[in-house]
Symmetry: C2
Subunit: 232 residues, 2 copies
């Protein structure tokens, strides 16, 4: 299945090591990411219609790539497409959020066991490092940066599982509730509680105690619903 090309390269593979592939970003991708961010950040509120004309114009893009991006967003569950009416930013009910959190919980618990069992020391150290950074952001009460790093930690734990299907699905569901999750967590005591749970998570991770990590993550996500409930 691997690349079986046997070319003799003028430049050795060794020499090309740290070189990062140049990434041609298609307009489709750019628009997709832009729109996704706008939804998550709330610049496009739930219920908002995505009008191809104006939106495309404001992004400086023709209808074609815009429409492609919208279809992709629909398949990711961030917008709904009503035939002949267009796309509207999806609105999540409390049950939707609960359902998503239930699945996320299960996924992260699976990831917890896999990561503790298989991840490299380097990966774990990196997550622990993220955790330390996050603590500093908490000390500074830098909510936005804290939030982003928080999401990144969860994503990193899942990624370290080495299961790409798991990573992708987790990312998809995480994206759906990012918005509401950010709005929640506003009260100081809730925030403090979340940080305490993360501290537990970090210890379990460093000890490679999958069961413990799974248990803490479960609690963490159970409480998340309470934390965000009034943000819906």
């Amino acid at each position: 299945m691997a690349d079986s090309g046997k070319k003799n390269w003028a430049v050795s593979d060794e020499a090309m090591d740290g070189v990062q592939r140049i990434t041609r970003v298609t307009l489709h991708d750019a628009v997709l990411n832009q729109l996704r961010d706008m939804i998550i950040e709330g610049k496009l509120a739930p219920g908002t219609r995505i009008n191809e004309g104006p939106v495309g114009a404001s992004l400086g893009v023709s209808r074609t790539p815009l429409r492609e991006a919208i279809k992709t967003l629909a398949s990711e569950g961030l917008v709904e497409i009503l035939p002949a009416k267009g796309a509207i930013v999806r609105r999540f009910s409390e049950k939707d959020i609960r359902d998503i959190l239930d699945v996320l919980k299960t996924l992260e618990q699976l990831a917890a066991r896999l990561t503790c069992a298989h991840a490299s020391d380097a990966e774990i150290a990196e997550i622990a490092d993220l955790h330390q950074q996050m603590l500093r952001l908490y000390a500074d009460r830098n909510r936005l940066a804290y939030f982003k790093l928080n999401q990144e930690i969860h994503a990193a734990i899942v990624r370290a599982s080495g299961n790409s299907a798991l990573t992708q699905v987790h990312e998809q569901l995480q994206a759906r509730i990012k918005r509401v999750r950010f709005i929640g967590n506003e009260l100081p005591e809730r925030w403090a509680g979340a940080v305490a749970e993360h501290e537990e998570m970090n210890l379990a991770l460093l000890a490679r105690d999958g069961e413990k990590l799974s248990e803490v993550l479960g609690r963490h996500l159970d409480k998340t619903l309470d934390r965000v409930r009034d943000a819906i």
Copy 2:
């Protein structure tokens, strides 16, 4: 969140009960489903390039909806898009399959508990009915129909959980390995084993024994990897 329109209808809601909404299928959707089926059924083999020109022509569709459908397929993980090169049907390695099955197992086990706890008797009866139909197809050695019903049973168990995020994610992952799963299961003894497991599943479901159902599903999916291994 429900429709809060307070119009006075000339026709009462009662009278409009059994009326099924007319569904306009956009070309985008039609093409999407068609292509997905073609990939799952193997008419588009892994590695095949989806050439916009010919494919569009053979489907009798212009590039516009075709390209939209391709982007959606990419987001579903069924094709890969290489910028400036086009889309190729994704090829799954054994590790990919294993990863997906691991996630599917976790998801179905979650569904098992939810369904046994919350599903209506009618839903469970319907699944049991599907099971009986499947047994008849097994008796007839009707592999294709058996396979489809088999997939439908798994999907129905998940759907009965009432968790739509779970349902959607499950469907997405299921679609990715449908193909390889169909090719597997060819040897009679494997087939018989799968049927036996389904029999257990059915009993657990009727007894609403979530733990038992979860355990059987776990075994079932663990064995699935063996069943399909040589089909990769």
